[in-house]
């Protein structure tokens, strides 16, 4: 991976709501389904990556305390946005051990909104976005 891409990936960022103007423009959806006041981090193994619109979904198998495995789902931004800012569909791959920080779902289902993920080599992936939205 080039250092440029690494730098881009390492930039911190915001998944924010989109309202580029004084008019409507909320982007695809609001954050109502997520608890935006909470932040959790889990560690697990990437099971599958949906590099799809309107959002990417990263599925991670997490071993719970009781020994059972739960698959968490993390919603990221659109691949359109991410591919212009250093991500590729292979940035996270099945089998990678990762830790993911996320805004949990309000209904308690396993998963939430992807905030950042740390790869086995220590690289950190974020949803780069300034004033942009999901």
């Amino acid at each position: 991976m080039s250092s440029r891409i690494t730098r881009v990936l390492a930039m911190t960022v915001t998944i924010a709501v989109a309202v580029g103007t004084g008019r409507i423009a909320s982007a695809h959806h609001s954050f109502a389904a997520f608890d935006m006041t909470a932040e959790k981090t889990i560690t697990g193994v990437v099971k599958k990556v949906d590099w799809t619109n309107p959002h990417i979904w990263i599925w991670v198998d997490v071993t719970e305390a009781a020994g059972s495995t739960e698959t968490y789902g993390f919603e990221g931004m659109t691949p359109n946005f991410l591919s212009r800012r250093g991500w590729t569909r292979n940035s996270m791959q099945p089998g990678m051990k990762v830790s993911v920080t996320f805004r949990p779902m309000k209904d308690g289902k396993p998963g939430g909104m992807f905030v950042s993920g740390t790869l086995p080599d220590g690289k950190v992936l974020t949803m780069r976005g300034g004033e942009t939205g999901q």
Partner: protein, 285 residues
């Protein structure tokens, strides 16, 4: 054929004839001329709008490291670039009392999201306020704007045709443009009543939108948008947005229904659907 049958038949013919002529007048009253080589060459004299553009504020970072906490269903982020940002006119549309009441009624539903969560595009003017790119295509007598979000297309006719007399209401309305010096001025009318002028803010069938597109730098475009609506607005509502050009970008596919797990239900409740996900337990089906 009896005389009654003849009378009924004649009436039917009259009705069909009348509706057919109404349709012709309303929908397709202009025949574009075939472009000539000179028409194609003339495009080179117009301001160069070609390429892929995105709001200049998107993706620059500079915010918090993570999304700020927000209340349920409050996609109201900082409004950058609006005309009201630096002490100008107030932000947002100034509504007439009747439409202010409509807005209050809609807000009382406390919907957590809008239909865009279900992949329904917002229509105008919202489609021009997306945090996604736009590509401008110039061909003789026409400017086409491809909006990446929801893969939307706006057709702007610049061949001198007038606004149709009674266009059908649509999400993007009917757009007629003209070049005024270096500015493309676009007037748009006839909007679907399922779309909103702004969040929780309906429009009447008299809404008109005038946009002024102008290059303000080698790779910068400013769009000044003025919405008027004699029933809904107490004053014209003007906003300004700046787009930056990215010559190294292409417009990408955006099929919202490809894998949309977000939704808002009829009661306005937003949620996430994990069905058919790799983690779904069979008993949850």
């Amino acid at each position: 054929m009896t005389s009654t049958q003849r009378r009924v038949g004649a009436s039917l013919i009259a009705v069909v004839t009348a509706s057919a002529s109404w349709t012709i007048v309303g929908a397709q009253e202009w025949k574009a001329k075939a472009p000539t080589a000179a028409d194609w060459a003339a495009l080179a004299k117009l301001p160069d709008f070609t390429g892929v553009w995105e709001a200049a504020t998107v993706g620059r970072g500079g915010g918090a490291a993570t999304a700020p906490a927000r209340g349920a269903g409050a996609p109201a982020a900082p409004r950058a670039g609006g005309a009201g940002r630096a002490g100008g006119p107030p932000r947002g549309p100034q509504l007439t009392p009747a439409y202010a009441e409509k807005k209050r009624a809609l807000e009382a539903r406390r919907a957590e999201d809008s239909e865009t969560a279900n992949c329904l595009p917002p229509g105008m003017p919202g489609i021009m306020g997306q945090p996604y790119p736009y590509e401008f295509l110039l061909t003789p007598g026409k400017v086409t704007i491809v909006g990446e979000a929801y893969m939307q297309v706006r057709h702007i006719y610049t061949d001198g045709r007038p606004m149709p007399t009674d266009p059908d209401p649509t999400f993007h309305g009917t757009s007629i443009g003209r070049w005024e010096g270096d500015a493309l001025v676009v007037e748009t009318a006839a909007f679907s009543d399922t779309t909103m002028m702004d969040r929780n803010t309906p429009h009447s069938d008299k809404m008109r939108i005038v946009e002024r597109f102008r290059l303000t730098g080698p790779d910068l475009m400013t769009i000044e948008t003025t919405v008027t609506d004699p029933e809904a607005l107490a004053a014209p509502w003007t906003t300004t947005r700046t787009l930056a050009r990215h010559r190294d970008w292409t417009t990408r596919e955006y099929i919202c229904e490809e894998n949309n797990r977000n939704y808002v239900d009829a009661q306005g409740k937003a949620g996430i659907d994990l069905k058919d996900s790799p983690g779904e337990k069979k008993e949850q089906r």
